[in-house]
Structures are given as structure tokens and as C-alpha cells.
Symmetry: C2
Subunit: 433 residues, 2 copies
């Protein structure tokens, strides 16, 4: 009979998500914000119509993966190359500013602790939760604005991807420092990381090596897969087998990334998209994936964020901390990413856009928090703060981005430090909806 | 980490299903047969690469529902009206012939039992499993052949829908007779059925009343929904909200059908499709649903049939019974439906097509068997026979239908008992791919 409850939940999610999505658009806010509010409405916070279940979580996870795959498919590889160095700098600064601010915040609330003490690591963990940007909501917002393929869009997406990698490194670093190396954490780290760890190499170096190995693997698989897809695509243009094989590649890369290399599955999905972004049928695949996404998986993912929250369970102490936590987390990214973007030559307005685009947190922050709970570095009550951060950033970011783009548009970076041929830029402009 | 196993399973399912689907098409067999074989290959019977899980079952169930919704969307209402009486007769005969043959079969194997004894009801239950046709595989096969909208296609689909209703009536009848009325079975029967039962009306009459009430409800909802959709459709032609709202209606009707009225959820999904089959955008909705179906949900559903089987667990005793069970179940439908079709004026070739189209069993037979296990009327070992029946009928039916259509095509029924205007037939012909 479980399936009946699922059907009921799906019907409610689809109706509410679409209704509030359209309502949000009427109010000049992006649909995504409406869908998250829909999730809050039907979740335990208000109407309690839908309970989060294993199957809904799984559907939401598939939704994230398809979103990231689509983001990868929409990548302009030449643009990514162009933004690579800048994105890495922005991501790195954007990781360490909130990491430090978050640690200090916890100490301000609960007393300063000596470096190396258990309390210090708890503080450091609060900072760690703030590090990883969740790009999916920004991607959706940028897509709605038609700015995903622009220089800023590409910079944000690449920075967020690099930021995930750094975030996971930081997480492993913090957990490794606080507990016995290679004991409490090895089970979730991926086969390669575990193998490296067991050879006596320190955890941090081990994770770093497995990340490098993943990207070497991805380039290898990418070149072979790209060649196969290109050949099949020329013979069977616009047939069903192209998007189906693409989706299989997406799931396979997500699985391998996390299981084998300990890199987040969404990074694997994004990489799968990037591998296919240059074949002729990449737009065709993206269109088919998009239909899967907006019909069912997208609304389920965005609603599920709201479903996981119960606003009623908040108490005053945790409320004040949560508000400070959210503010610091948002400001940390805006300052860290925005400032470094400004120093790298972006205009002031565009630097703010990048800072705001990077301030969204999502499933990665949740995964980090869950990991913290698991290894005993985070008390369950801080979970609410994380969910609040996800909701606030998910709602604010698309609205702020829309307002900023409406006011300023995007500066022309034709004469940017790494010059690209004008026809490439024109092409990228024409491709953006 | 459960999500990683899911991603791995999905990647494997998609790759194998598409590969064997294409291979089947190369061998002039329908893709569906290939996808079921793919499920057998990757399941416990052979490679054991994928384990059936709650999430995969749920995705498969969503797949069935989308398939049935699409079948409903493709309905030509005028054709359905035309085939209504004939379909009811075909369905009724097609239910009772295998019911009797199945009961006799069990008695032949395990000794004749007095009417009313526990053994008699066990025998009757074997017959009951054989009653309900599963139309989804036939629908897919007919769609691949471009014959879904023809007179025979419509007859089969309508007969299979009516047959489900009769099958559920028979199930309730058999369970009701063998056990204490309204005790062991009431929990799964739907709110209306339960309410009627509790008023003292006999179970059989209660179920009959709730089925009638469901169709009254469906007509009421149908008229209102149709009017709303027609208006929205005229204003927002070809926008995302049309298929999204359609999908929500499909899930809602599936839920209400089973939870409130005790009618199978797939019947609800089909009815939702029929409600929308006459709006201008019905083809647009069907196309979007079809993409969802062939990309992910379809392959998962057809693979999951193979996944549920473990050929290795068979022993010789149950093997002989299973072979006889499968033969009788297939022949029962061919004789019952084919003969009544012939008597109703179809040509000999087309009567065989109808008989063969009706011989597929699927999720409904499984649900009936599971119900039997639950109330103690079926031993677990007969489960393998049911799965074998599903697999054999799923593989044979599409192949047989394809061969029959290639040899004979479809007779011209323009002068059929209930004459239709030639332009309606031409329209239906033009709409078939």
C-alpha cells in the first residue's frame, strides 16, 4: 500500500510546486523559490500533507543528478577553460572565508576553545558546513534568466564545482584531524581513497590523490566516451538511444565518482554532462533531460528541501544561533567570492552577482552535516540551522540574481585578461535562451 | 549510501534494457521482450548485478502508471464506445474460461476436492490468478506496430480494462467466500468498499457497488476536469503546465481509484488518460509523457519483471506444474477471448489476435498472487509459476502479434455491426503511427 501514499504525495507535490512556481513568477520571483515554499507548505511545518520518505528522497536525489548533468551539458568548454584559473581562485577564497568566520561564530556563542581541543573541532565543523556551495539552485535561476552560458554563469558553475572538491577536502581534513586517522571515516570515502589511506599515506594527502585520480579517470573516460558518442551521433542523429545512453553515462559517472573516488556523485553527473557537451546532439539530450526534470524530478527535489524542515521545532536559543549562522554563511561567500572576483578584474556589479550566486547551500551542506552527526562532531539541533541556511539562500539567491541582472545586465568581457575570439562569445550569446 | 546503489542499478538497467531492446528489434521482436530479457540477465537468475529494491519497485510502479495514462491518452473515445459492448462480452468470457480451467488444473495435479473445502478454494485461487489480463505489454507492442488506435487495439485495451474490474470482483468474491466476510480482506479494499461492507451488504455486492460508484465519480470528475483543461489549453497551448497538470491528475486518479474505491490504481491512471484524450493538446501531453517513459520509467518497469524472478530456485515438481499453469493460462484467454470475438463477428485472424493480445499477464496477476499469500490461500512456491506466466506471455504476445499483423494486417470493419462514419475511421488511421 506504500505505493498509494507515494502516488498521493507525487500528485500533491506536482500540483503545489507548479502552482507556487507560477505564483512566484507572477511576483517576478523565480519559480524555484516558489517550489521550495510549496515544499514548506505541504511539509511538517504547515499543512503536513506529505511526509518525506525514502522513495521521495531517492527521486529528489535523481532530480539533483539530472540537474547537474544538464548543467554539465550546457557548459561551453572553451568558456570553462577561460574561467578555470579565476574560478579556482574564487572558489578557494570562497571556501576559507566562511570556514574561518563560521568557526569564530561558534566560539563567540559558546566560548573560545584551545586549538586542538574537542570544542575547537566542533567550532571548526560549523565552519566546514558553510564551505560547499550548492550550485543546483543557482543553475536553475541562471537558466531561467538565460544567463547560464554567460561568463558569470560559467564562472559561478565552475567555481561551485571546484568548491565542492575543496569542500570535501576540508571535510576530510577536519574529520581526519579530530579523530583517529583512517578509522571512523574510511567507510564512506570511496575505494581509491581507502586504498591510498591503508598504505599509510595521511588522510588529507590520500583524499587529494584520489580527487586527482578521479579527474585523470574522467579525462580518460571522457575522451573515449566522447569519440563513441560522436560516431553514434553521426549515424543515429536525433534517435532515442543518444539521450538514453547519455543518462546511463550520467548515472554511471555519479556512481563511480562517489563509490570509487570518494568525490560527490553530483560532481560525477556534472562531469558526465561536460563530456557530452561538445557532441552535436548535446542540445537534443539536454532538451529530453529537461522534460524529465521539469515534469517530475525537479519539483520533487525543490519541494523535498521544504519537506525536510519543521519550523515548529525551533527554540529561541537555537533560533538566534541559526540567524547568525545564516547571516555569516551568506556574507562569508559574498565577501570571499565577491572580493576575489573584483580583484580578478570583474566589475563591481558582476562581482556581487558571483558572490550571491555562490552563496546557495544545498544537499552538500546537508550531507556534510549528516556526516558530522555520524562522527559525533555536530549535535542534532544544528541541523535546523543548516536547513534554514539552505532555504534562505535558496530563496534569496534567485530573487537577488534576478534583480541584479535586471538592473545591470552583464558587462562585456571581450577584452578580458584571457581573450577569446569574438565569434566564440557571439556563439555563446546565441546559444543562451 | 543507498543512493549510490540506486544510481549503479539505474545505469545498469538503462544500458542493458536499451541494448537488449535494440537487439530484439534487430531480431524482428519487439523492444519490450528485449527489456524483460535484460531484466532476467541482470537479475538473480543470471548475473545478479541488480537487486530489486523498494525504490526500484516504486519507479517501476510509476512506470506502469505512466504507461496506462498514455494508453488512456491515446484512446479514441468514439472507437471505445463502438467496442464497449463487444469488449465487455470478450472480457467476461475471457475471465471465466481461465478461471474454470485453472481450478481444474490444480485439482488434476493435487486431487479433486469438494466444493467449499479449503483445498477447493486453493484450486479456485489458482484460477483467479489467471483472470486478469495485463494490458501494458500488449499496449506497448501494439504501439510499436502502430495498431493501438485500430479497432482491434481498442477492443483489446477496453476488454483488458473491463477484465481488470471483473478480475478484482472475482478476487473479492473468492476471498470473501473462503474466509470470514469483511474481516481479513477489508484493509485493502478502499474506503467506499469498506463503508458499504460495514452496512451489512455482502462483500460481492459491496465491491460491485464501489466499482459502479468509481465510474460515476470518474464521469463526474472527468466532465469538470475536461472543461477546465480545455479552457486552460486554449489560453496556454503547448505550455509546460498542461502536461504537468495532466500528470498530477493521473497520479491523483490512480490514488483515489485504489484508496477510496478499491479499484486498481492502473485503472485510475487509464481513466485519467481517457478524460484528457479529447483535449486539443492530448498529443502534446502524450509526447511529453512518452519521453519520461522511454528514458527511465519504461525500462525500469520491464526490467523489474525479470528482476523479480530467480529461475535457479525452481524444482522439478513445481516446474511441471508451472509449465501446465502457463499453457492453461495462455490457452484459456485465447479460447475464451478468441472464441467470443469470432462469435461477435470478427474474422478468424483478428479473433486470434484479440485472444493473443488478451493473454498477457503482469502486475495485476502478481498483486492477486501477493494477496493470496497474504490471506494464506497460496503457497509461496506458486509465485514462480506466476512470474513464469508473466515472462512467457510478455515475450510471446508481442512476437505473436507482430507475426500475425505482418501476415494478415487488420480486416476492414467499416460495415461492422455498429457502423461509424468513414471519416472517423480515416482519422483514426491517420493518427496511428
Amino acid at each position: 500500500m506504500d505505493i498509494l501514499d507515494l502516488l498521493r504525495s507525487l500528485a500533491i507535490i506536482i500540483i503545489f510546486a507548479k502552482f507556487f512556481g507560477l505564483l512566484a513568477r507572477k511576483c517576478k520571483a523565480p519559480q524555484v523559490a516558489g517550489e521550495i515554499i510549496a515544499g514548506l507548505m505541504i511539509g511538517p511545518s504547515l499543512l503536513n500533507l506529505v511526509q518525506d520518505s525514502d522513495v521521495i528522497s531517492a527521486l529528489a536525489e535523481i532530480g539533483v543528478i539530472i540537474l547537474m548533468f544538464n548543467a554539465g551539458l550546457g557548459t561551453d568548454l572553451r568558456q570553462l577553460m577561460k574561467t578555470g584559473v579565476k574560478a579556482t581562485i574564487i572558489a578557494t577564497v570562497g571556501v576559507f572565508v566562511p570556514l574561518i568566520l563560521g568557526t569564530v561564530l561558534y566560539m563567540c556563542f559558546y566560548g573560545f576553545a584551545a586549538v586542538g581541543s574537542q570544542e575547537f573541532y566542533k567550532a571548526l565543523f560549523i565552519g566546514t558546513i558553510m564551505t560547499a556551495t550548492s550550485v543546483s539552485i543557482t543553475v536553475q535561476a541562471l537558466r531561467e534568466l538565460g544567463k547560464l552560458k554567460g561568463l558569470i554563469g560559467t564562472t559561478i558553475v565552475s567555481a561551485a564545482i571546484i568548491d565542492d572538491v575543496i569542500g570535501i577536502l576540508v571535510l576530510t581534513f577536519v574529520i581526519g584531524l579530530s579523530s583517529n586517522p583512517s578509522s571512523s571515516t574510511s567507510s564512506d570515502e570511496g575505494i581509491v581513497t581507502e586504498a591510498i589511506s591503508s598504505t599509510g599515506v595521511s588522510d588529507i594527502l590520500g583524499v587529494a590523490m584520489s580527487v586527482v585520480l578521479f579527474f585523470i579517470f574522467a579525462v580518460g573516460v571522457g575522451i573515449i566516451t566522447y569519440k563513441i558518442f560522436e560516431k553514434v551521433d553521426q549515424r543515429y542523429r536525433h534517435t532515442r538511444r543518444i539521450p538514453i545512453a547519455g543518462l546511463a553515462l550520467c548515472f554511471a559517472m555519479s556512481y563511480i565518482a562517489e563509490r570509487v573516488f570518494g568525490v560527490a556523485d553530483i560532481t560525477g553527473a556534472y562531469v558526465a554532462g561536460v563530456i557530452l557537451c561538445s557532441i552535436d546532439d548535446s542540445d537534443y539530450i539536454a532538451r529530453k533531460m529537461d522534460i524529465n526534470s521539469y515534469m517530475l524530478f525537479g519539483p520533487i527535489f525543490f519541494c523535498s528541501i521544504g519537506l525536510q524542515t519543521n519550523i515548529k521545532e525551533m527554540n529561541l536559543g537555537i533560533l538566534w544561533f541559526s540567524i547568525a549562522f545564516v547571516l555569516i554563511a551568506l556574507l562569508g561567500k559574498i565577501i570571499g567570492c565577491g572580493l576575489s572576483a573584483k580583484l580578478l578584474g570583474f566589475t563591481g556589479e558582476d562581482s556581487i552577482k558571483i558572490g550571491i550566486g555562490m552563496m546557495t547551500r544545498g544537499e552538500v551542506a546537508l550531507i556534510v552535516a549528516q556526516k558530522g552527526l555520524q562522527v559525533g562532531m555536530l549535535s542534532p539541533e544544528y541541523f535546523t540551522s543548516v536547513i534554514l541556511l539552505i532555504i534562505v539562500s535558496s530563496i534569496l539567491t534567485p530573487i537577488a540574481l534576478k534583480l541584479l541582472y535586471e538592473r545591470h545586465g552583464e558587462a562585456d568581457y571581450t577584452d578580458f585578461k584571457h581573450p577569446v575570439k569574438p565569434d566564440v562569445l557571439l556563439q555563446a550569446k546565441a546559444a543562451g535562451k
